[in-house]
Symmetry: C2
Subunit: 434 residues, 2 copies
């Protein structure tokens, strides 16, 4: 039985889970794998912190990650410190030193993935990153291997547990955003400084990784349209629910004739869409391909042991030599993917939910639908509640398919009407086959 | 760029899809894979049948599958004829001739998997079978690779599209079983002779394959408890719905302290369970592991191109040399898995739905709950509809966790009461963490 030697850098939540798995006794693979996987060293800047985990004497523990990267015994570097620096330098030096890389670092791959893949190709080494998207949900392996016989048409899903927890709570308990976020922070599902999650940045990082793989292309991360959940109003969740829709923060990318549609935004899903019942901190990703049609992968999208499970699966894949073959043979990793045009948000076509605050006067509905009609937007349903004349009331509409540029122009004109007060709210809609 | 030569045996629905993919122009992998995959021969007993597919002259077409198996140019045999004979002989001869095998044959693997894996090991060759369970749903790869760092605790799901279509139709349109089945037959979702599907046999084959892999064990297929949907009554779907449950045909296996629970039966799921909204011909499989918690894989579980997608992904995996590594290194395929004790159905513990047909007399409820209590079964909810005294009425109950052996004894006693008429209906319940 051969052995693979692992060096682990970063002993935070996920790193501790990985370490626990690798030093478990009996070894977790004892009954499964004809290969010995051996943790030889661990680096963390707070290595001296008191921990529940007890490393055997054979494991080097150090504050200095170079001790791991420069150790000739180490075959695989597992980078779990997150962020761009020094993670990027660790990955590059590891590759240059002839080590394979396993990482869960979505920001690093979104911003510098193609550059790092290039370096890996030139070094004859591999980078594995299943844990960077959806934690233990096997979406990277599925897109890369299981669905390889497909032209991928769309990838969309819920890839951030924090925002899904907040929206689920708002939806199920009718609480406002601030209260739901506070609860998520108390329960440890949201950071004190939550903007990476609630502003959609984390989702955009993950979507970038998936879209590059699925569409076998490259584009700039900064071209992804990103809109978070901090402006979501409870009343829009309520009205949309009445109309048969559930609000989720979706990461969406689709191959269009004229380029790539790629965006993160609060999105309405019909109640019977499989993503609409993905609640709490769970994640799920739908993949649409020309052969498979619609598929979905669902599971815990974060957390110590689920993420460690994905990291360790990658470690096994590398240790068996499969990752090397994959990296050499499958083109999204060959470092010469074609650059693809990212569509401006004004060019997307979808259905919309609209909420106007109007003064209830004769002719209001006619004025609004008239402007929408002038911009080629037709209405599929309307909710207008009973009210006294001249009172401010919400007027809610669902549109048929419309182009966002037209919608934006129409809203500017409508918001200019005397009978319309405040800013019009709008939400994009996603259906099972759009 | 190296080449892998494929011989395809069986040109039915799935086989035609695979052939179309392999001879597509431009090749489906042109932008994805640094490997050429070449269809060199096709055998089918009705090879002369008129087909829409046009093979290039370079492809051998024959009625005689030995021409493919004995062809020294062929590297990989793709067996898509189904059934036990001559599929088994084809696989064995292929392995002995030094070919790797790709198959979608669930019956063959359920009945003879370990024996064939043994032969493959001894020949230094591999058998790949992603398409045998859930078509394009990547459940084999996930259980084998992505979730390898887990102790698998449970595998359960909807693995037969025909029965799911029938139950969905009964549920959504309130039609009886016979009518729903007839509709499925007209639409091509059910065979004229539908017993393999409706009696749960197809589900049991697939479950056997997954359970052997997930629990890294062996057992006899004939020990799987199998109950189909042909006795499901519409009224039970209705009452269960009122109580908050949806009826599905589930394939369920769980690692228990004293052995393996493995069974196929109509099962009630709480409405908010992710499997309860899997409708029509879609399939979905939940996998529970100690690290990942609960995960679910969802997609089309049958059909020409979805299944061809899985077969071709396996062909790629074999052609790249990854399947060989997997087969050599991962123990469920090493041919010496330990035999595991399958629990008798009387030993399982779950919650139950019960429907008694009773004459509405004072004391009936007390007699029935008394007998249940004597057998250690307690009730969580009851529906009894208004009726005239002395009329026959349904009495519906949900129990707390109970042992099936106790339930069976209680039902025999209850069915013996003068006030109980006809046979008591009962259904097992599955919850997210049982």
């Amino acid at each position: 039985m051969t052995t693979s030697n692992i060096g682990l850098i970063g002993l935070g939540t996920v790193g501790s889970g990985v370490a626990e798995m690798l030093i478990s006794n009996p070894p977790i693979f004892a009954h499964k794998l004809d290969k010995s996987i051996n943790l030889v060293g661990v680096a963390d800047r707070s290595i001296d912190k008191k921990r529940t985990i007890q490393f055997p004497n054979s494991v080097i523990t150090t504050q200095n990650y170079d001790e791991i990267i420069d150790n000739p015994e180490v075959d695989v570097i597992v980078e779990l410190i997150g962020g761009i620096h020094p993670a990027k330098e660790i990955v590059i030096k590891g590759l240059e030193n002839g080590k394979d890389i396993v990482t869960a670092n979505k920001a690093l791959l979104a911003l510098h993935g193609p550059e790092l893949f290039d370096i890996a190709q030139k070094s004859g080494k591999s980078i594995s990153f299943e844990a960077s998207v959806g934690s233990c949900i096997p979406v990277v392996a599925s897109l890369r291997d299981s669905f390889i016989a497909n032209k991928i048409e769309g990838i969309y899903g819920i890839v951030n547990g924090t925002t899904n927890y907040v929206l689920t709570k708002m939806n199920q308990e009718q609480v406002q955003y601030d209260e739901a976020l506070k609860d998520a922070q108390i329960k440890g599902y949201a950071e004190k400084e939550p903007s990476t999650d609630v502003d959609g940045i984390d989702s955009a990082h993950k979507l970038t990784i998936l879209a590059r793989m699925g569409f076998n292309c490259d584009f700039n991360y900064s071209d992804v349209y990103v809109e978070g959940i901090s402006n979501v109003e409870l009343k829009d969740i309520y009205y949309a629910h009445e109309l048969g829709y559930t609000l989720k923060l979706l990461a969406i990318s689709k191959q269009r004739k004229n380029g790539l549609e790629i965006r993160v935004n609060p999105t309405l899903l019909p109640h019977d869409h499989p993503l609409s019942s993905v609640n709490g901190v769970f994640n799920a990703i739908c993949i649409r391909g020309d052969a498979i049609g619609e598929s979905m992968l669902y599971g815990q999208g974060a957390g110590k042991m689920p993420t460690a499970s994905a990291v360790v699966a990658d470690i096994v894949d590398v240790s068996l030599g499969r990752a090397k073959i994959t990296f050499e043979s499958i083109k999204p990793f060959s470092g010469n993917c074609k650059k693809i045009n990212v569509l401006d948000i004004s060019m997307i076509k979808t259905r919309y939910y609209l909420r106007f605050s109007v003064i209830d006067k004769p002719g209001v509905l006619a004025s609004i639908t008239g402007i929408l009609g002038n911009h080629n937007i037709s209405i599929s349903s309307v909710i207008q509640q009973d009210s006294k004349e001249n009172e401010l009331v919400p007027l809610v509409m669902m549109t048929h398919l419309a182009e966002e540029g037209n919608l934006q122009k129409a809203i500017i004109e409508i918001d200019d009407l005397d009978v319309v007060k405040g800013k019009t709210a709008f939400l994009r809609v996603e259906e099972a086959s759009s």
